[in-house]
């Protein structure tokens, strides 16, 4: 029931919010988002232990096809659900800036997307997974398409067609695996884990899933939609895409791809790791050349996702733990950075790096928070980003030192990237054209919470790692068992 509540609360709340007026909508949306967050935190507090399913729910839906409406949380889904419920309010804070442009609908769409994301992370049935997978996509398409920048229409259409193409391949893959589940055939996670696919076909079906997940993450070379979409989307949309939607892909890999096709994956592992590592280096190199902050974040995010993917593809408990930790860490820091960029833009009138510098003179607290978030993003020790990247690189090095080297180069380039950005935008002489400014309480609060969470997780990641461990062990057992 708790899991269902985590989905229904934002979904119903979101639909309700769309019908309200601006001021009421803002209040109701905040209440709904906070209530959802509280429910999730409560669920985490009452977690207990064990690899098993918590807060499970299973209703018969289409029995003749073996489809049931099954939800539940475990050590892999809970961290991502927590990330979702923490980041969604930040998106709402950003959304309040679009005043006058039908904001209630924007709030509603953000909440609807939150529901979709929680559903993706909680689904225990492939059809339910697909349903929420698309439910998370449609709202963000409308967010980006309606509230976005000048070239939003073609850019978001490309994004939509691209991701839906991926989804449809996955749908085909789901149907194919279903045809090979043991009788009585079904779509449940356990049926999928024990499906015996013909060895000749398995790599192709794996590819059908991989395309969907690779486009969502995105993984090289399926990233061409990303930079333009992040750039054109409004700040709240970019934040949802980067902090949350990208995680759907990697989650899908861990939950629905690797354990279903372990044998087929074993043959393709070097290819997948290579795609991840290429993305790490490629992304950080391109990011170095960016002037626009949102494009910079897009490419840097692409680079980070590549490392997460490569680490997870290396198939070890360290890589899996690193993947979970880094998904959360990256989600927190990138959400904070998108909020910071939006604050930057609203106060200085632009978001080009190099045009305005020395912002530390105008608002020291803002500069400190930004630096903390940036440090976590590129993985300075004692930040969550470091812990995550460290685990991922160790895991990669166990496969081959060369892969780890490639990933390490990307991490170093990332450090260069963020340090340059800090220097150009926040250090240096006082900017004459910008007056001193204050942060709104909501802005300061959100930045503070995100930065603090990054540091807490970096200093003491153990609870998160311990939480995820039993589930990840179980997943690796499934992968290794066949």
């Amino acid at each position: 029931m708790v899991t269902l509540l985590l989905i229904l609360l934002p979904l119903v709340g979101g639909l309700l919010v769309m019908a309200l007026r601006e001021s009421a909508a803002r209040a109701v949306a905040s209440i709904v988002a906070l209530a959802t967050a509280l429910v999730a935190i409560g669920a985490a507090a009452a977690w207990g232990s064990g690899a098993g399913l918590h807060y499970g729910l299973s209703l018969d839906w289409i029995p003749s096809w073996g489809i049931s409406f099954s939800l539940g949380l475990d050590g892999l889904s809970l961290p991502l659900v927590l990330l979702t419920v923490l980041v969604a309010p930040v998106a709402l804070i950003l959304a309040t800036r679009n005043e006058g442009r039908r904001s209630p609908i924007l709030y509603g769409l953000i909440l609807a997307m939150e529901a979709g994301l929680v559903g993706v992370f909680a689904a225990r049935d492939a059809v339910v997974f697909y349903l929420f997978w698309e439910l998370a996509l449609v709202p963000v398409y409308f967010i980006a398409g309606f509230w976005g920048g000048e070239k939003r229409v073609p850019v978001t259409l490309k994004f939509l067609v691209y991701t839906v193409a991926g989804s449809l391949f996955m749908l085909f893959g789901i149907l194919y695996v279903h045809a090979f589940t043991a009788a009585p055939q079904g779509f449940s996670l356990s049926a999928f884990y024990s499906a015996s696919l013909p060895p000749g076909a398995a790599p192709w079906i794996l590819a059908a899933f991989a395309v969907a997940f690779a486009i969502k993450m995105p993984l090289f070379p399926f990233h061409t939609w990303q930079s333009d979409t992040y750039h054109e989307a409004p700040a709240s949309g970019s934040l949802l895409l980067a902090a949350l939607m990208a995680k759907m892909g990697l989650y899908g890999v861990m939950r629905w791809m690797l354990p279903v096709f372990p044998t087929a994956f074993a043959g393709l592992q070097p290819l997948f790791i290579a795609l991840g590592v290429v993305g790490v280096v490629w992304g950080s190199l391109v990011a170095l050349a960016q002037k626009d902050m949102k494009r910079l974040l897009a490419w840097s995010s692409f680079s980070h996702t590549g490392l997460m993917a490569a680490g997870v593809f290396s198939l070890g408990i360290i890589g899996f733990q690193g993947g979970v930790l880094q998904m959360v860490a990256h989600g927190l820091s990138i959400a904070g950075l998108f909020l910071a960029v939006d604050i930057f833009e609203s106060r200085t009138g632009g978001r080009q790096i190099g045009t305005v510098g020395g912002l530390a003179h105008r608002n020291g607290a803002f500069a400190v928070l930004f630096v903390l978030l940036a440090l976590s993003a590129f993985g300075l020790p004692l930040t969550a980003g470091f812990a995550g990247e460290f685990l991922l690189l160790i895991s990669l090095s166990k496969v081959s030192l060369w892969w780890a080297l490639g990933g390490g180069i990307g991490v170093i380039l990332g450090a260069v990237l963020y340090l340059q950005w800090i220097r150009k935008s926040f250090l240096g002489p006082e900017p004459k054209e910008v007056a001193a400014f204050k942060l709104k309480p909501s802005e300061a609060g959100a930045l503070g919470v995100l930065a603090l969470a990054g540091i807490v997780l970096g200093v003491y990641p153990k609870p998160l790692l311990e939480l995820a461990r039993p589930t990840l062990d179980a997943l690796l057992n499934v992968i290794g068992a066949r």
Binding site: D60, I62, S64, F142, L160, L168, F169, L171, F172
Partner: protein, 475 residues
Amino acid sequence: MSLFILLPVLAVLVLFANLGRIKAATLPLAILGLVAAAALAIFRLGLDSPYLRGAAEFDPFASGFSALLIVMTALVVLLLAAPSGKTDIPQGEMAGLLLFSLTGAVMLASYTNLVMLFLGIETLSIPIYILAGSKKNDLGGNEAALKYFLNGSFATGILLFGIGLLYAGTGQFNLDGILAWSQANPGLHPLFHLGLLLLLFGLAFKVSAAPFHFWTPDVYEGSPTLITAYMSTTVKIAAVAAFYRLLARAFPAAVDRWGWILVLLAVLTLAVGNLGALAQGGFKRLMAYSGISHAGYLLIALLAAGGAGAAGAAGASGAAGASGPAGALWIYAAAYAAATMIAFVAWARLEEDEGGGVMIEAFAGLRSRSPFLAVGLGIAMLSLVGVPPLGGFFGKLFVFGNAVAQGRIGLVVFAVVLSAVGMAYYMKPVIQAWFHESPKKDRLPLRGPEFFVVAICAIALFALAAAPAGLLGAF
């Protein structure tokens, strides 16, 4: 047999009411009658026994599809009650003709004899030839009517020739008789198989499958929008139901002979429909190509007729398999019809407002002119692409699922790729409606019937997600 009495009698009553002094009563009468007919079909009242010496039989398949056809027609008749500003639309005559046409549609859903199939096709089509040209002074409408008539006659001719050959080969008109004959005479029989081939081609014309689709865009564009809505929903579904019934009941044993032909038709239809739609700038032409592409997906659904027949010795409806191929077809058809209906209601409303614009850009700014219609349009288009949790998704899920279970992997992959193309063109009107500003700022108020039809169809698209379990087993 109650439907075969009720519907034509109703049609005659409506026409007489229209001729007499009670014009105001015609549409309410037609709608009341259709509601009664839908009730008969849904609750299967007076439908049980085969009749006319076994020419028709209301098995669950027949009553299920009849109900769908009746409801879709009722929605169109309801929309007649929201007349456009121009008063040259003869509502009463149109309602009467629609009812006659519906009688043919119900025949197509329930026939068990090839003569009845032929009668059904003719009864369905002849009123449409007239209706397509019902705007007498409109050149486009006249062209559409003539094109539809010529192509339709051609198709019926082929169909009739096929029936003749089959009779010559087997000595049977009856579906069950043909099945028994083909089971007793395996192997290649020129008359039998040529007859089957011509039947397939004749029906492919009716469902506008490529390469027999070329009349569709012109006819859809030229006909009055409400009639286009009727053609692309009721007429197409009736033809598909007839197609399924033919294959599942008479030819499941010959699946090896017709399976590859359907696959070929499906591949061609999907390519022509989806790629053709991508190139369209006019909305009705877009919807015409959309209809062609959905004919392609429906052909994939028809392929399951053979699988079920082979597995379960052809139950009355072919629904022998647990996966319910007929139910899948019904869900697909219902979702397609509901979504298409919304699209045409929206278009009819805009057409009236714009006075004859044909381009998709007419949807620009619909969100501020009529948020309700804009939301409905979004739901309809997303359902046509197959986005969950809308009906279109479940249609695709079951249809593709059955095809995968039958081992038609290449075909499903091809269909999946083209579904993604579908997203690109189905979003065109949605993008106009939501992301573009309108040159016109005035509100676009909906009339009661329009509001009702859009609401019912949108609710149905969501409701199809809640009920597939019952529907799959119902046929």
